[in-house]
Amino acid sequence: MPASWAEDGSIPDDCRLWRAIPEQSLYPVDPNTGDQDFSDSAFLTHEVSVYAIAETTPQALATKFPGLRFRELTAGDARKFDLVVVREPDNVGDTSHAVIGRKDSPGARLKGSQAAKLKKASKWADLGPGQFPTAPPPVT
């Protein structure tokens, strides 16, 4: 738990945050569309653990969370839903880690509606477990 739930000014609104989604939170892949839904219960916690992808790499996160898929949202998305984003090194000292928590009740579980909003605001950051889209070549 962070020492303070004060909003972290070092994380701009456009900061892209990745959240590992446990396999138990996944729906089966839709055989018709290939899409995969997930339960917003993956966000129903006291502090939603996320990583600023600009400060780490997809490969590093895939190593940290083998076999898991990732959703991407921005810090601004979370702030729109009365949540705060606080930098907090993870249990191995990774400083790209942050937590999302409630502004009105620091340290309390997110409400179901907030979890649902985070889900809707997020998108898959990968193509499947450990499969990441290739970055487009730089424009010359």
Partner: protein, 166 residues
């Protein structure tokens, strides 16, 4: 003439605590069931209840840290309450309700999700057995609060809203 077998039987779930693997079998209506100390027998009203109840029971076998963040598996209180919720929904009398999807929640809870077109009803059972609900349309939350196990009229209004979107 004897009725067909399916007409006189109803599925039950027999849960053997020692094995943690629920078995489904059928019994005749009116049959007296002897509940042994090692077994929990759950009588269901509708066949759609079997899979979600089975899924809720299986969640107790999750390892600690299943979410990679140290969460425990759901304990007896949320599992029992999730089964209560599923059973109570089956008794509401809707013919067109499908089985909910069952998910563990970080911290030791369980979430049941009923989907109907663009509508969704989510019931979360917290680790202490208390229950919350959220209704969603197109992924946007509409209403949330304490899930009303009693009186059934309140739960019925939630499921009426859900199935009216079919």
């Amino acid at each position: 003439m004897m009725p067909a077998l399916d007409a006189v039987t109803t599925p039950i779930i027999e849960y053997r605590a020692a094995e943690r693997q629920p078995q489904v079998r059928r019994r005749q209506l009116g049959q007296i069931i002897v509940v042994q100390s090692s077994c929990q027998i759950i009588v269901v009203q509708s066949s759609w209840e079997i899979e979600p109840i089975r899924a809720a029971l299986k969640l107790q076998s999750l390892p600690r840290g299943w979410d990679r963040a140290g969460s425990p598996p759901p304990g007896d209180a949320p599992v029992d309450r999730a089964i209560d919720v599923i059973s109570s929904v089956a008794k509401l009398g809707f013919d067109d309700i499908t089985a909910p999807h069952v998910f563990p929640v970080p911290g030791g809870g369980i979430q049941l999700e009923w989907l109907q077109g663009d509508r969704r009803l989510e019931v979360e059972v917290l680790p202490d057995g208390s229950t919350q609900f959220v209704t969603l349309k197109d992924g946007d939350p509409l209403k949330e609060g304490e899930y009303p196990l009693w009186p059934p009229t309140e739960a019925k209004s939630l499921f009426s809203w859900l199935v009216s979107g079919a």
